[in-house]
C-alpha cells in the first residue's frame, strides 16, 4: 500500500465519534466572527455597531490578493466590532459580534442556482474568493490563491485529501460517508479550474466504508487511492509523495512538482459556493475526547462560541486541556469565549489521562525522532538548538522545512517539547529578519 518515509502510529481514538452521523447544531444567540480566519493579509470590517446583517452577507473586505472575506453566519444585528481572543494566536484580534434575530434569513439572492460547469475558470476563482473559501483541513490558506498557481508552475496532479490522519477527528470521514456527491462535484469544478482531466481522492485505509462509498460514486476520471494508515499521511507533502512518488524540494511548495492538494471539506465548500453562491459560514466539526459527555460530529456555524458547543454536546466531565484541531497539531485554548472558525476541524476536550504534562529531561540521543520525522530532519539537534536559542544553526539544519507535525514530540522518551522549540526558533528567526530589514 502506498505510503511515505517516516511517520508514527498514534492510537486512532476515532471510535469515540466516527459512527455518529452529522448533527446540525441549533442556532445560538451570539456569534463571534473573527475577521482573520485565513493565512495572509487581513480583511477590513465593512460593518459597524448597529448594522443589520443577513445570513451569508459579507462582513469584511479583503486587503490584497492573499486575503478572503468573512460572512455573517446568520441574520441579526451587529452588537459590536471588538477585540476577542483568537483561537490560533491566543491573542486579541478584531471580531464582528452578531446578535442573532432568530430568523436565519438569507442575504438577497442567496442561495442562487447556476451551472458552475458553464463558468470560466476566472469567474469560478472570483466566486471562490468572494465566498471566503479557505483550506478547511486546518491551514486555512485562501483557496483561490492555491488554485491560481503561477504560469511557470503547471499543475498536472490534483489530490483530494480524505486522509484525516489526526487521531480523534472524524469530520471528513462523516462528510465522505454522508455527502460524497458534494465532494465529488467540488473536485470536478477544481479539475475544470486547473484544466485537468483526472484527479485522485486519497483516503486512509482505516476508513474502508468511506473508500467503498467513494469508489462506487466517482466518475471514471477520478480515482480513489487507499493509503497506509500512518500519521501524518494527510500532510500535503506526504500525500503527494505517497500518491505520486514525487518529493517536494526543501523550501519548496507542491506546485514545484506539479501537484496540488485540497481538503475534502474544502471541495464540498467549493461546490456550494460555485453552484449556489453559498459563502463559507458553516462546517463539520468533531467534538470529541474523553472529557465531553456526548461526542458528536456537528454541522456548526462559524462564530459559534465554544461554551455553546460544549453545552450542546452534553457538557464536560473531567477537563485537562481543550484543543481546537487535532491532538497533534491543534492549538490548546485557555479562554471559554473562543468561537468556531473556518479551520476548526475538531474540538477536543481531553481528560488528565489523555494529556501529557510531565516535565522533560535532556535528549538521550535515542534517535526515535529522527526515524519518525516525515521530512527527514534531525529533531534531536533542533531541540538542543532550541534550548540555547541558536536559530542560525537551526536554519542550517533545515529548521524551515519543519511543518510542526509533532511526530518527533510524540515519540520522544525524554518528553521533550520539540515542536515548541522549533516554533520558538522560528520566532527568533522572524524577529532577527525583521530587525535586519529595518536596519
Amino acid at each position: 500500500m502506498k505510503t511515505f518515509k517516516g511517520g508514527i502510529h498514534p492510537p486512532g481514538q476515532k471510535s469515540l465519534v466516527k459512527d455518529n452521523a452529522i448533527v446540525e447544531m441549533p442556532l445560538g444567540s451570539l456569534f463571534f466572527v473573527l475577521t482573520q480566519q485565513h493565512l495572509g493579509a487581513p480583511a477590513k470590517p465593512l460593518v459597524k455597531k448597529g448594522d443589520k446583517v443577513l445570513r451569508g452577507q459579507v462582513l469584511t473586505e479583503p486587503l490584497g490578493f492573499v486575503s478572503v472575506p468573512v460572512h455573517a453566519p446568520t441574520s441579526g444585528t451587529v452588537k459590536e466590532v471588538a477585540k476577542k481572543v483568537h483561537p490560533v494566536t491566543g491573542l486579541l484580534a478584531p471580531c464582528v459580534v452578531i446578535e442573532a434575530d432568530g430568523n436565519d434569513q438569507w442575504a438577497e439572492g442567496l442561495p442562487l442556482e447556476r451551472d458552475p460547469f458553464a463558468m470560466s475558470a476566472k469567474d469560478l476563482l472570483s466566486v471562490i474568493q468572494g465566498c471566503g473559501l479557505v483550506g478547511m483541513g486546518g491551514a486555512t490558506f485562501p483557496t483561490h490563491v492555491k488554485l491560481s498557481p503561477p504560469k511557470d508552475k503547471p499543475i498536472d496532479t490534483f489530490i483530494v485529501n480524505g486522509a484525516e490522519c489526526e487521531p480523534y477527528l472524524a469530520a471528513d470521514y462523516r462528510l465522505m460517508l454522508e455527502q460524497p456527491d458534494r465532494i465529488i462535484k467540488g473536485t470536478q469544478i477544481i479539475m475544470r479550474i486547473l484544466g485537468l482531466d483526472h484527479a485522485v481522492i486519497a483516503i486512509e485505509a482505516n476508513k474502508p466504508d468511506a473508500i467503498k462509498v467513494m469508489e462506487n460514486l466517482v466518475p471514471p476520471e477520478i480515482t480513489v487511492e487507499s493509503l497506509k494508515v500512518k500519521y501524518p499521511q494527510g500532510a500535503e507533502k506526504q500525500l503527494i509523495n505517497a500518491c505520486s512518488g514525487r518529493e517536494v524540494p526543501s523550501g519548496g511548495l507542491p506546485m514545484d512538482v506539479g501537484a496540488l492538494v485540497q481538503n475534502a471539506g474544502t471541495c464540498a465548500a467549493v461546490w456550494d459556493a460555485c453552484s449556489r453562491g453559498i459563502p463559507l459560514i458553516e462546517r463539520i466539526t468533531s467534538v470529541t475526547g474523553g472529557g465531553i459527555k456526548e461526542p458528536k460530529n456537528i454541522k456548526v456555524r462559524i462564530g459559534t462560541p465554544l461554551h455553546e458547543v460544549i453545552e450542546f454536546c452534553g457538557g464536560l466531565t473531567d477537563v485537562a486541556k481543550v484543543v481546537f484541531g487535532g491532538p497533534m497539531m491543534g492549538i490548546a485554548q485557555y479562554s471559554p469565549d473562543v468561537s468556531v472558525m473556518k479551520g476548526t476541524s475538531g474540538i477536543l476536550i481531553l481528560t488528565h489521562q489523555e494529556t501529557n504534562i510531565d516535565t522533560f529531561s535532556s535528549c538521550i540521543g535515542c534517535g526515535r525522532c529522527i526515524d519518525a520525522c516525515p521530512m527527514s530532519l534531525n529533531p534531536s539537534i533542533l531541540s538542543k538548538f532550541g534550548e540555547k536559542g541558536m536559530w542560525e544553526k537551526a536554519v542550517e539544519y533545515n529548521l524551515l522545512d519543519c511543518f510542526e507535525c509533532g511526530s518527533c514530540t510524540y515519540m520522544c522518551p525524554a518528553n521533550r517539547p520539540i515542536v515548541h522549540f522549533v516554533k520558538y526558533l522560528k520566532t527568533l528567526q522572524r524577529e532577527a529578519n525583521a530587525k535586519r530589514k529595518e536596519a
Binding site: T89, L91, A332, S335, I357, P417, Y424, T427, L428
Partner: protein
C-alpha cells in the same frame, strides 16, 4: 665535558641566529598598550560595548584615538588605569543598573492557564502570549537570570527576578533578553522607580492585577518637582534627572507600584553653623524642618526622607547626612 658545552652552546647559538632572523622577517607590529588595556577590562566578553569581546574592544580603544569608553563594567580604578596607559582621558558616563518593572507575583496577579513547556520566558511568550493575564507582566521563568554574565540577577520566591545592585554592571543583556521589555537600565543612584510598564487602562487592569500602575495621576499631581508623569496611557515614569528622591509619590500611590531602591540617610542640622535663614525649611518637600528666625533650625527625623535638598541649598553648609 668541553664537548658538551660546545655542543649545547653551538645548538643554542644556531637556534638564536635562526630565531633572530625570523623575528625580523616575521615581525608583527603589536601595540603593547593593548595588553595593558585588556588587563583592566573585566574579561566577561558580555558584548555590551558593541564589540565581539574584551580583546576586540581593547584593540579598538588602543588603535582608535577617538574611541569612547563603552564598557559599563569598568570601575573607577580600571578606568583611571586605562586612561593612564592610553594617555588620554576616558569619561565613564553614568553608571547604570538594571531595574525590573513588574511586581505581579502569583498572589497579586492572575494566571490564565498552566503553561507546560521549556523554562524560558521567550519560548513561553509564543504560547497564547504567555500564561500571565497581563501582557506586560513578568512571566517568571528566568531567561534574564540565565543570560546574566555577572550573576547579578536571581529569581525570588515570589516568581520575580531581583537585581543585586552590587554585582550589576548595567551591561544590558537582561534588558535585551526579556521578551516584554520589562527590565530597563536606570542610573545606579536612582532611588525610586515605577515597577510597571502596562499600557492597559485601569478598568482592564483591575481584572487581573492588584499592583500595577492604574494611571490615576495622583503621583503626578503630588510631585513637587514634576519628576513623575503619566503620558499617553503608559504607566507612570520617573524622570531620574528631575527626581529629588523625596518619596512623596510612594506615600500617595494607591497600588504601591513605585519601588524604593535604596534607603537614604536622613539629614541633621549642625547647630553651631546654622544661621536660622529658613531656606532649608522652605525647600523641604515633606515639611520636616522647623525653627524660629535667627535661631538654629531642627529637622524632624521622623518626617525626613533623606532627599538632600536642604543639604544642597543651605548657604552655611550647616546640614549634613547621618551615617546609616
Amino acid at each position: 665535558m668541553i664537548n658538551a658545552v660546545i655542543l649545547v652552546g653551538g645548538i643554542g647559538f644556531v637556534a638564536a641566529l635562526i630565531l633572530g632572523i625570523s623575528a625580523v622577517t616575521f615581525a608583527v607590529k603589536m601595540d603593547p598598550r593593548e595588553k595593558a588595556v585588556l588587563d583592566q577590562l573585566p574579561g566577561a566578553n558580555c558584548g555590551a560595548c558593541g564589540f565581539a569581546g574584551c580583546a576586540a574592544f581593547a584593540h579598538e580603544l588602543t588603535q582608535n584615538e577617538n574611541a569612547e569608553m563603552a564598557c559599563p563594567a569598568v570601575n573607577e580604578e580600571a578606568l583611571q588605569a586605562i586612561s593612564d596607559v592610553l594617555c588620554r582621558e576616558l569619561g565613564g558616563g553614568t553608571p547604570m543598573i538594571a531595574f525590573v518593572g513588574c511586581k505581579g507575583t502569583p498572589e497579586k496577579s492572575i494566571t490564565r492557564f498552566s503553561y507546560v513547556g521549556p523554562h524560558d520566558c521567550r519560548a513561553a511568550q509564543i504560547v497564547a502570549g504567555g500564561a500571565k493575564a497581563c501582557q506586560y507582566g513578568c512571566l517568571g521563568l528566568g531567561s534574564c537570570v540565565d543570560v546574566c554574565p555577572f550573576d547579578a540577577i536571581h529569581m525570588g520566591e515570589d516568581s520575580l527576578p531581583h537585581v543585586d545592585d552590587l554585582k550589576c554592571t548595567g551591561c544590558g543583556k537582561c534588558v535585551d533578553t526579556c521578551p516584554r521589555e520589562i527590565i530597563r537600565l536606570v542610573p545606579a543612584n536612582a532611588n525610586y522607580c515605577v515597577s510597571c510598564i502596562s499600557r492597559d487602562s485601569a478598568k482592564d487592569m483591575k481584572a487581573y492585577c492588584q499592583v500595577g500602575c492604574i494611571k490615576c495621576r495622583i503621583c503626578e499631581n503630588t510631585c513637587p518637582f514634576d519628576a513623575i508623569v503619566v503620558v499617553d496611557g503608559n504607566a507612570a515614569i520617573i524622570n531620574q534627572e528631575k527626581c529629588r528622591k523625596c518619596g512623596l509619590c510612594v506615600s500617595v500611590c494607591p497600588t504601591g507600584v513605585i519601588e524604593q531602591l535604596h534607603v537614604q540617610a536622613k539629614a541633621y542640622i549642625i547647630e553651631e553653623k546654622c544661621r536660622g535663614c529658613s531656606i532649608c525649611a522652605q525647600v523641604c518637600p515633606v515639611d520636616a524642618i522647623s525653627g524660629k528666625p535667627k535661631e538654629p533650625y531642627v529637622i524632624d527625623q521622623g518626617k525626613c526622607v533623606g532627599c538632600g535638598l536642604c543639604i544642597e541649598k543651605c548657604p552655611a553648609d550647616a546640614v549634613e547626612r547621618l551615617s546609616i
